[in-house]
């Protein structure tokens, strides 16, 4: 039981260290990457089953009693997230077997990926705010290096923006932690929750909440602090973009949900309109940016921003149904979005470009790839019976129940625009005839990918696309799980009791 909470940290760490020892042996590094992420997925599933059976579980590192030591906590939400992280890590590790090139692998691409997963899992499982800061920095430094690996001009410019904005966010976060410690004298999240619920909040705590909202708003690309994301996410190789889009911004949203349902409950109640406004504007600006793009990966990067709006919308509504919608949406969007990015990578591999104007004829030439794109694209737009439909339905129903009609209208309008921009990719890249360039034979447009590589690139994308179908057709079990997780989030007593062992 206790080991289970440490495993999602130990596995990526051990894999990364082993990868460092195998520095010059690429084959071994690849094998380690796949084995490590498989083990992580297994550990995540085991943790989820334990949390489903026993409720919130926690363990004290080094047996220091809470709130003095570092606590690791898992409730349903974080356990679900750990499973998703393991699954995504595995999908990208398999995809990388065929997509990563020797330049990246010789610079430590595989160990860095593991360090990234380590930082993400640590952020999900820690029960201490300062420890969260440390895990976030672990995640960030790995992402900085992964973003800049290879060092093309585009990547360098993207990296400088990404690094600067994330370091500002970290400085905000650190300042918020410092002031919070001055106010409460503790940084254990359960202890903070217990202390801050007992008193009406004066002037300082809302300021801290605002600081942390700004910090994680930057990290999760919430309006108006999202410009770094579309400027940087399309520059690295597709496998790196996929893992970034699947995990980094989502961890930011996870932390927002965690601190505003556990610690800053009063601020979350008071700031609902503000959070909903940020959510609505995030959706709208993201999708408008996407509609204006003519390059697949940039277009999808803007959609990351737009989808973050839906996740934050659930937090702003703060009802069990809305939070369940957010959790369901999180799993759905990670699967759908990652599948789309992986397909964009396959398209790039086939044609050498992701510029929509230069693409065409893929439906005729590569119908399977077209299908791989179509399913997650429709899921992302929210077409029934795919996963996105149920996620959006829950959020919309929760919004109508709360009488927040403006944000519901925005959510529905953005869905239509999402569909429109997906149609644009479909029409340009797959449907229209290939633009004929001077002196080219038709056969050169879609060079043959060898069979082994085709499997390695296609299977992760296929599994993720099928996941959106499965989550749509069989939405019931996952949705029930999300509802239970939402109830846990809205009852901080369970969390506090699990960590401090007392009834508050």
């Amino acid at each position: 039981m206790k080991l289970l909470l440490f495993l999602p940290l130990i596995i990526p760490l051990a894999t990364a260290v082993a990868g460092l020892f195998a520095w010059n042996r690429r084959e071994l590094q690849r094998l380690l990457g796949v084995c490590g992420t498989t083990a992580l997925l297994g550990a995540g599933v085991a943790l989820l089953t334990v949390v489903q059976r026993q409720g919130v579980v926690s363990v004290q590192a080094g047996n220091w009693p809470a709130p003095f030591g570092i606590t690791l906590v898992a409730d349903l939400f974080s356990a679900v997230m750990v499973v998703v992280v393991g699954a995504m890590g595995l999908a990208v590790a398999v995809y990388s077997l065929a997509s990563a090139d020797i330049d990246h692998e010789s610079l430590g691409y595989h160990p860095l990926m593991q360090v990234l997963l380590l930082g993400v899992c640590g952020s999900l499982l820690t029960g201490d705010l300062f420890n969260l800061y440390v895990w976030f920095e672990v995640m960030l430094i790995a992402s900085f290096v992964l973003l800049a690996l290879g060092g093309r001009r585009q990547q360098m410019e993207g990296a400088i923006k990404y690094v600067a904005l994330n370091l500002i966010a970290s400085a905000f976060f650190l300042a918020g932690i410092g002031i919070l410690y001055g106010v409460a004298g503790t940084l254990n999240m359960a202890d903070l929750a217990r202390q801050l619920r007992a008193v009406p909040h004066g002037g300082t705590v809302p300021v801290i909440a605002a600081l942390l909202f700004a910090a994680f708003g930057i990290k999760s690309a919430v309006f108006p602090l999202f410009f770094w994301l579309p400027a940087s996410y399309h520059t690295p190789p597709v496998a790196v973009t996929t893992i970034f889009s699947a995990l980094l911004t989502k961890v930011g949203v996870y932390v927002l949900v965690r601190i505003f349902t556990l610690i800053f409950v009063q601020e979350a109640e008071a700031g609902r309109t503000l959070i909903l406004a940020a959510a609505g504007l995030t959706m709208v600006t993201g999708v408008l940016g996407a509609v204006a793009q003519h390059e697949m990966r940039r277009l999808l990067s803007f959609h990351i921003v737009s989808q973050i709006g839906y996740l934050v919308m659930g937090l702003g509504l703060l009802t069990p149904l809305a939070l369940a919608g957010t959790i369901f949406f999180m799993v759905h969007v990670i699967a759908a979005k990652s599948a789309l990015f992986l397909v964009a990578g396959i398209v790039k591999r086939l044609t050498g470009t992701t510029e929509l104007a230069e693409l065409g004829g893929l439906y005729e030439g590569r119908p399977l790839v077209a299908g791989l794109f179509l399913v997650p694209a429709l899921a992302l737009a929210g077409i029934p019976p795919l996963s996105g439909f149920w996620a959006k339905l829950a959020l919309v129903r929760a919004g109508l129940g709360e009488g927040r009609y403006v944000v519901v209208a925005a959510a529905l309008a953005v869905s239509i625009l999402t569909l429109f921009s997906m149609t644009k990719i479909w029409a340009e890249a797959f449907w229209k005839d290939h633009p004929v360039r001077e002196g080219e034979a038709h056969a050169q447009y879609h060079p043959h990918i060898p069979g082994g590589a085709r499997l390695l690139l296609g299977v992760p994308a296929l599994v993720l696309a099928l996941a959106t179908v499965a989550m749509g057709v069989g939405a019931e079990p996952l949705f029930r799980l999300s509802l239970t997780a939402a109830d846990q989030l809205l009852n901080p007593d369970l969390y506090i009791a699990a960590v401090l062992g007392v009834k508050p």
Binding site: F130, Y133, V134, E137, L140, I141, F144, V145, A148, G151, R152, R153, Q154, M156, E157, G158, A159, I160, K161, V163, A164, L167, I168, S170, A171, L174, A175, I177, G178, I179, Y181, G182, V183, A231, S232, H234, T235, H294, E295, G352, T353, E355
Partner: protein
């Protein structure tokens, strides 16, 4: 003492922000470093300043006699300094590479990611 430190922290934040809105990436990284230091001093100050009272447990006792200095903010700052050192070292190497690749340290010239990019 608190008021002096408060002024120092405010000055560091102001200087850091001023440097961050300059166009040169070198100044931007310096600004980030100052922001980090300002945050560290902030943690130190709001954790209550107690001078000359280290938290020792006297012989035969079980806990230190108050008032003692709180060791936790100092431990937090140590951790933050180490992390800041690593991140800033990386950032410095990054701006060197950016300068080599892009050929300028002017942020206003780094706009190829925002415009339509055509791969050859």
């Amino acid at each position: 003492m608190e008021s002096v430190l408060a002024i120092v922290i405010g000055g560091l934040y102001a200087t850091g922000l001023y440097l961050m809105v300059r166009r040169s990436i070198v100044k931007m990284i310096f600004g980030l470093a100052l922001l980090g230091n300002a945050a560290n001093l902030l943690i130190f100050t709001v954790g209550r300043l107690t001078r000359g009272r280290p938290p020792y447990v006297p012989a035969g006792g079980t806990e230190p006699i108050p008032p003692v200095a709180d060791p936790l903010p100092q431990a937090l700052i140590l951790t933050a300094i180490v992390i800041g050192f690593g991140v800033q070292a990386f950032a410095l190497v990054l701006i060197k590479r950016v300068y080599q690749t892009v050929g300028t340290d002017d942020l206003d010239e780094m706009t190829t990611t925002d415009t339509e990019y055509r791969s050859n």
